[in-house]
């Protein structure tokens, strides 16, 4: 035992410059992501179960709709068109229930320990949002491998894949932060699961994930354009398809995802501390 009484100050009890502050925020964010990674590594079963759903969509849904040629997808096969859509959908489905963890942590008491630590609220929330992307990225791996196994032609360049990673990190952070906001508002598991179920299908169907915007009725197109999932799908299509083009330029898609995520993080930073009151 070599604990000394005098060294009670942790480090820089304030007054540090802005660069050091930013460095601290980054270190704290990395700590949260690292912690979530350790949790996942102790129990990766969730990730394994998640293989099933995208496989069903690609193999069965994609298989059937490819044969009937009902959906106009330009120069791409339907499976090509569908693959980025199913990837985005998996990211949505896995992120939209992420808030259940905050509810569990509130019911236990874990949340209070994080909130009494000198970690800024936006770091606590943003770190969790980034952590959710580890789950999203595991989905990307599954979907891409499945698509290759199905013989889908994809643009598999290093730059393209890095872009896919970035888009998935943003998309996961966006929907998991939205999920945490819902959790902070409804506070109980039952209500949370109800609202989660209620949200997923409209978000999925009112998007360009499984059919293009052009075949939607006008009113639905407006919903789709207000739906962040559309921008995630659009970005993934540009990045994953050979000579991929989208509704918008890639930078617009990514900027929309980034700024919506930022806004949601700021909102949740205000709501999150109420989980401990």
């Amino acid at each position: 035992m070599s604990l000394s009484v005098s060294s009670n100050a942790v480090r820089g009890t304030g007054g540090a410059g802005p660069f050091e502050r930013v460095g601290d925020f980054v270190r704290q964010t990395v700590a949260i992501v690292g912690y979530e990674a350790r949790k996942l590594s102790h129990d990766p079963s969730e990730l394994l179960f998640r293989v099933v759903q995208p496989a069903l969509w690609l193999v069965i849904f994609g298989g059937v709709f490819s044969t009937i040629h009902a959906i106009p997808t330009g120069s791409y096969s339907y499976l090509q068109f569908l693959t980025p859509g199913i990837l985005a959908q998996s990211v949505l489905f896995i992120a939209i229930f992420y808030g259940i963890a905050s509810i569990r942590e509130r019911e236990l008491g874990i949340i209070t320990k994080f909130l009494v630590s000198p970690t800024p609220r936006f770091v606590l929330v943003g770190g969790r949002g980034l952590s959710a992307s580890m789950r999203g990225l595991s989905q990307a791996l599954i979907v891409v491998l499945l698509a290759i196994a199905l013989g889908v032609q994809l643009n598999l360049t290093v730059l393209g894949l890095l872009g896919v990673v970035l888009a998935i990190v943003l998309g996961s952070a966006l929907f998991s932060t939205l999920s945490m906001i819902i959790a902070s508002i409804v506070k109980t598991q039952e209500r949370f699961l109800g609202i989660g179920q209620l949200l997923t299908m409209p978000l999925f169907f009112a998007s360009n994930a499984i059919y293009p915007l052009s075949i939607m009725p006008r009113w639905l197109q407006y919903f789709a354009l207000a739906n962040p999932l559309t921008y995630l799908v659009d970005a993934l299509r540009i990045l994953m398809l050979p000579n991929g083009t989208g509704l918008f330029p890639l930078y617009v898609d990514l900027a929309v995802l980034f700024f919506v995520t930022l806004g949601l993080i700021l909102v949740e930073s205000r709501l999150y501390p109420r989980m401990a009151q």
Binding site: R11, G14, G34, R38, I110, V116, P118, A276
Partner: protein, 263 residues
């Protein structure tokens, strides 16, 4: 170390904490007792910056809880009534994330974690998942986590609820050693009068948000003017008639859940 001035918190019509003014010295173990709903946990939540006061102020470790919450957080540790250790990771990892959140330098991190675990008698189970810990081990892990950054003030909200007598004894010993070794000020709430009697230098009795008595356990007992009065008698004298009226379903559920999980 800690001073409150007319600290008050209202929830709608209810005044949970009503003009609380009290001081706790460095190295003192200070007890808050009173029935459920008396305002103990609300007081602690304000002092740990989790809940903003409606009016009044408090200083903890020299910093105002409203104006400098981050400075307060750097200098305090808190073990909530509910379970705060994470069952999905190991004991070591529970401390590891907080060592990093408290920005303990990399070179010191591992040693601090090992020291805290050793101090709480958990070295042997450091790398086991917390879901395999006993209730007493979980509580000691939570205290170890709250000590990692050498806080000047430590808040323990019902630290021994749901523990069997042996585990309770072990936690008491650690709390006493902690004060002796580091001179940490400790504020604890409890429903066990034996606990308050054994550990606390001074005890405040709270009732309906107000502090209705304050003093050393011996003084409080003497103040009743009956020979052989216990701290239980003091509690009943100030708050007894209302015990059954307070708390409610939610609180009862929470307390029992903690008790069940710690078993």
């Amino acid at each position: 170390m800690l001073t409150t001035h007319e600290l008050t918190r209202k929830f709608g019509e209810l005044t949970a904490v009503d003009h609380l003014s009290v001081s706790v010295a460095a190295g003192e173990i200070f007890g808050l007792i009173g029935p459920n709903g008396a305002g103990k946990t609300t007081s602690i939540k304000m002092l740990t910056t989790l809940l903003p006061p409606t009016s009044g102020t408090a200083e903890v470790a020299g910093y105002d809880i409203v104006r400098h919450p981050e400075q307060v957080r750097r200098n305090i540790g808190y073990v909530p009534q509910l379970i705060s250790a994470d069952a999905q990771v190991t004991g070591y990892e529970n401390l590891w994330v907080f060592a990093r959140l408290y920005l303990i330098p990399r070179a010191e991190r591992d040693r601090r974690i090992r020291d805290a675990l050793e101090f709480m008698g958990l070295s042997a189970v450091a790398d086991e998942l917390v879901k395999n810990y006993s209730g007493g081990m979980i509580r000691r892990l939570e205290i170890a986590q709250a000590l990692l950054h050498r806080p000047r003030a430590l808040f323990l909200d019902e630290p021994t609820v749901g523990l069997d007598p042996m585990a309770r004894d072990a936690v008491w010993e650690q709390i006493e050693r902690l004060r002796e070794r580091f001179g940490t000020s400790i504020v604890l709430t409890t429903h066990y009068m034996e606990e308050a009697d054994r550990l606390c230098g001074r005890v405040a009795v709270m009732h309906r948000g107000k502090m209705v008595a304050l003093g050393k356990p011996s003084e409080l007992k003497a103040s009743l003017g009956r020979p052989g009065a216990s701290l239980e008698d003091v509690f009943v004298h100030y708050a007894g008639a209302e015990v059954e009226l307070s708390g409610g379903y939610r609180e009862a559920g929470r307390t029992r859940r903690v008790a069940v999980r710690l078993e």
